[in-house]
Symmetry: D4
Subunit: 216 residues, 8 copies
């Protein structure tokens, strides 16, 4: 077998293994999804392109594909009510797909998400106007490309952890997102942690972990 | 004045402004520390070299300098009892200074820290033997240089957020810590967030934020 | 002539010249392959795309194309029985093509290969469970993308050389495989040697050289 | 002769050649300064270390050395009254030396400079509180290290050009200032132009050019 | 809503928000454009590909698409007469698209632009022959790829600010424009400021800001 | 006009301006070629893709397109007999297109070229066997990808300048040719000069300049 | 305790843990060495600077410090006779320290080493003249800086694995050894594996593993 | 022996082996120099620091040390009269040491050198004023740091090969000379070849090879 599915992950880490789409055939994804469902684990697959999504939907008609986030979900059982409170904030409209991946992840974890879009630093009055929407959150995901300045500013206003996601939005010296990544790593705000470029899933997952901890 | 001390930081973000030592004269540090203390805020200064520490200790004899962590602390008021539970894990003995900076930060936040040292992947049996020491923590700080593999492995065993700190330990293709940094950003474990190279302070602060959230 | 085929390679180095596909027309590959076969040398060609493979198969109907590995083989003579024992281990399912290239190379060298798939560090219990499958090998090939942590862990369990192959699997800060490459170069395990990104052929060849040495 | 002093620079470009200190002996600097003074041009030399400054002061007792900015000035003639209005803003106290180099350059050009220090984004309320100090300027110099976010925010509040100077302040993934440099180049504010890392001279000069244009 | 249009930008910064095309659907662009027009602000959108342009033109038949510059403009009101004087200079013919983006931006700002094409340093007599065309300008935009040497030479001839735009023209060690970018940042001419690779819009905007300042 | 053709180049530099194809429309190329021919200068255009070549051939039926080198030539006058003697040596068959660009350039300059193909260092006996073919040359062009080792070895055998051309042949850590480029720049052979990645034109031109000097 | 010595390493991997010197106090090294000796394991410590060596020699007078290799050895028991046969080859005299580290490692493993010095490619006749010295070896270590070409050439002559060590010898574009590292990773010889820059220990260890395998 | 001196180099390549100083003890340098002199070959050693120079001068009192170039020369026999004609041009005064290394190399080869200093592009009228000094040379060495623009401009005026030497002069984004190196590699002048950063020796040697060819 080319896959050794980690069926024990949910028990060990709190949530099941998530399927990373790139480099896997739809058959392989179907097989892994089938095994997870057979063990009563809700499926989340990321970075699924539309062609593969179609083939997976044929096998699992109950699957839901989010074509902006490029995520695919299949529930093994009816879902729990939502807990916690996470805000997902974008710097610009072009950061939307990455923010959607974070939102889908939070939803799969059963965590409430509030979206605040397009409040980047070039219009610096926009963020403070919307402070109320994210002042009481357990954790915040901030998604930004280009200079990646927004997480530092958000960090300066709040008392919860900020999970910063650099995006590849931009051109030239953005170096495919490296510029935003470096910005966020060098943030002068103490409460900013960083994940990989375009890794909406990772930031959503980490924020979700923080938001669900109070339940233990 | 060359400094605009952010005295409102504690109210806004939960903890006071922390002094970044490099590029500041001891006089400047003394002035900022004095202002924080005058507002009843506990002082933490990082990356203080021994010569500057000596000069600051002259002004503030109650200050405590940790020469491994290169941190300096001055308390404004008697300290609270400890809350929460964070583990700080190192891959090798050479990662100790960065781990100590994280530990000092947690201590300044009033958070309990458990140290687990030198359990890197070249001796892969060492980590599982000590799982009990960090299984129940609120958050974990993992400090590793060279290939920076340890956070992924720790992440695979636990259900709390892992804050990974790449260190500059190593030589040649370690690129001053960039190799470990990239490793951690690309972690296949879902629960690993990353901070800057050698940024023990940041990881400690983030872990401390998570550990203190249950108190709200 | 645009090629100076190194027909003496087998005598000098133990195995014939291997054809590197990119940048060569199918005619050129056919010509080189023809010359090798005329000198009774088994042909291995790597990185052959499907269109070129079709044209080569027309000329050499006995050729075998592995479409996952993108290798092409044509035997000059009947093959020897297998010697030695090499394990090829992957971190994730997406590393399969590179592992297949290594396996084809070992097969061409007449070396036995054992495949162990999808045992990366995010599910850290998987590798130790399968130790028996690679404990007695002459050499091990470890194939991993993203943070490239697996070779260090494998190295920590075994007494033979580990040939680590970084793959381009991942995104963003994986930098097309550079992240995994750097990880492997900085391995704290003493027995890890490294080859180029996605270079399954190289790692297979080196492991095969070690595995066949006992025959001298 | 090892120098070909560009005595025509003032006529052609508006201001005389400025002496770049590194790699020049104090004798060479003295010679160039002497030639400029002989042609009635005010001398500005940058990046002069203290040892060289001492030797130059011996020859030109009227020279003034700014040991924070590491600039050296010698006036050929009495100075004009000041024109224009430029603000120099720093993100943190450690950016002071670079800001001072800009201030000295503006002073040498006869341009008024207003200094606004330590208003970086981690304390995001500080900048808007001081808007009045730089709302009416001809041009603004913004000096920031680490994530280099401040120029974008300043740019979002003003209608004049912003000349952003990345500094090498920070550590690890700041890459000696490259992180801040990339941030500024990718600024989503339209009015941000960038100069080299730590190039306070350049930003000051450009701002000074804009501030003195209304006099033509 | 996925967009928070900054309708206050014109009041605060002198010119309205400009639409960055990449990653936005034509519907999103139409919506933002509609809001700007409703507030009587002239629309400039950059990096619009032809397919999207067609869809936007269907909604706004008065829009004008420049297919070399890939800009799209829609006027809310009749345009003012032109003020100021900016030169846009290219090193080679291949730099034309970036120069056109700068020209469109200047036109949208109501600033006069003079184009001087293909006067790069390999034919060093060409630039001085055309000095008269840009000697009296308020600011100059210099567009160059490959070694990016032209801005320094232009800077050596003039007394106004030079806004240098590195382009991605070239191959191999041009690193997609990084080579030209680094050249320009290291310019030994004092009056050269730099913007992102291929950022004709930014350089045009900055030059336009300088050219329109005399009107205050 | 978008082009300022440097018609004086031949007089100043010995050979006419060469047309760099990328980013130019076929109309622009036709216009520049026409102007060169009208001034009796032989046309060489590089990096012309097949589609553009077809459109140029329609206008200039006497043009010759080399589809491997992607060069296009149009002679203004009958050609001179050949002078000098340059060798063009490749490491592998995949380096052929770059070598062909060098050969076309030499031919356009009227210089004799000897081609020696596929003698890279993995078969180290091949080069010394063919020493006689390049022992008496005026200059040598060595074209190599991957590790780019060949120029150093050639340099160790000869007394003339070696112009090394790194190619983008390879994968992974070849970084699109940067690996070979760095190798050549660090050559321990004293007589190795380097040009841009894949710049067969440049190396051919430089070798041609050396080979034609004896004629002055 | 700050160290978790891996006393089981010899049993698991064939040889004991090796002490990595940098970042460890002499006290820490003494403690680890003491524990290894107490378990009858021969001590090898690498990258020990002279000052630390002196302090360790005070505690362990039987220790031997190699000041060129900067290694330190302390034997727990009398040593075995030597087995196997490894050649260590340098490109230039400046590569000596790294070669010595490899030789010390092999000696600690009980493996015979043959040294062949200063046979780099700029004098290409030198290597073939000495082929007899390394034709029958089990494995070869090749140490080279600058362009790092030697491993490929050695690889072209032999049938055993070549472990290539890039060194930081050189300047400028050698990028502290990255140039040689990239060369070796891109070697067109099939039998070249690579270790970190200046990692004589690693290459020696790997060659020693191969050389001692025939004993099983 | 740790050195295998290439005594045949002069016969094979026209000039003897040159001693690369870094990483060699004075004893090693003395030994190599002694062997070269014993074979009647003139010694040139580069990158010799003053302390080593003193020790070498004790052994060879006739040696001459150039403390700016850091070269050391010892003649085996009386020197020939000079041939050929090479110009060495610098952009700024700080490039002097590298230019001196080139001049010493040319002198050692018996080639006449003309020095033209400090004619960089910020004062663009300086170079054309001095064209007569280098119009008739066999080859030109151009030495420049910062943006490295000068070689392209020189190349645009002349008909001989230009050997460009990037220097590490500058700061910040000069990346230790990489910026100038990249500029030169991307030169749009056809006649510019490049050597390593600060490699005055290499450029001098190559120019000397061209200048001495007419003697064959
Ligand atoms: N020079 C060296 N280069 C790379 N790894 C080394 C070196 N010396 C020792 N090591 C490895 O470093 C590990 C010890 O790391 P630490 O726990 O930090 O002392 C051991 O497992 C060795 O295999
Ligand atoms: N393949 C090439 N590589 C580098 N430079 C080239 C190439 N082909 C032409 N050139 C140069 O590009 C210049 C023309 O640039 P442009 O004005 O953009 O057409 C000429 O001066 C040539 O010297
Ligand atoms: N400054 C220098 N830059 C580059 N190569 C040099 C330099 N000086 C000497 N060399 C070369 O280095 C080689 C000697 O290397 P090694 O055997 O390490 O002494 C000689 O063949 C010279 O061609
Ligand atoms: N701190 C600085 N940063 C960048 N350029 C400078 C600086 N100081 C002086 N310059 C420029 O450097 C040039 C002098 O270079 P040089 O001929 O090497 O002395 C002058 O034209 C100045 O414009
Ligand atoms: Mg927006
Ligand atoms: Mg240890
Ligand atoms: Mg898996
Ligand atoms: Mg501050
Ligand atoms: Mg042109
Ligand atoms: Mg071949
Ligand atoms: Mg030597
Ligand atoms: Mg000068």
């Amino acid at each position: 077998a080319v896959a050794t599915v980690d069926l024990n992950r949910a028990a060990r880490c709190g949530f099941p293994e998530v399927i990373f789409g790139p480099g896997k055939t739809p058959e392989a994804i179907n097989e892994i999804a089938g095994r997870l469902l057979a063990h009563d684990q809700n499926v989340l697959a990321t970075r699924i392109d539309p062609a593969n999504a179609t083939m997976i939907l044929e096998k699992f008609p109950a699957a839901r594909y989010n074509k902006i986030a490029r995520t695919l979900r299949i529930d093994a059982s009816s879902r729990n009510s939502e807990v916690g409170n996470v805000a997902v904030i974008t710097a610009g409209t072009s950061d939307l797909p990455v923010a959607e991946e974070a939102r889908e992840t939070l939803d799969w974890m059963g965590v409430r998400a509030t979206m605040v879009h397009d409040v980047g630093v070039a219009g610096p009055h926009r963020l403070p106007e919307r402070l109320a929407e994210f002042a009481e959150t357990d954790a915040i995901v901030v998604v930004a490309g280009m200079e990646g300045a927004l997480p530092s500013v958000v960090g300066g206003y709040v008392r919860c952890p900020v999970f910063a996601v650099p995006t590849s939005v931009g051109y030239g010296a953005n170096l495919g997102g490296l510029s935003a990544l470096l910005s966020m790593l060098n943030s002068c705000a103490s409460n900013v942690a960083v994940v990989n470029i375009d890794a909406g899933f990772k930031a959503g997952y980490l924020a979700g972990l923080v938001a669900t901890r109070r339940d233990y």
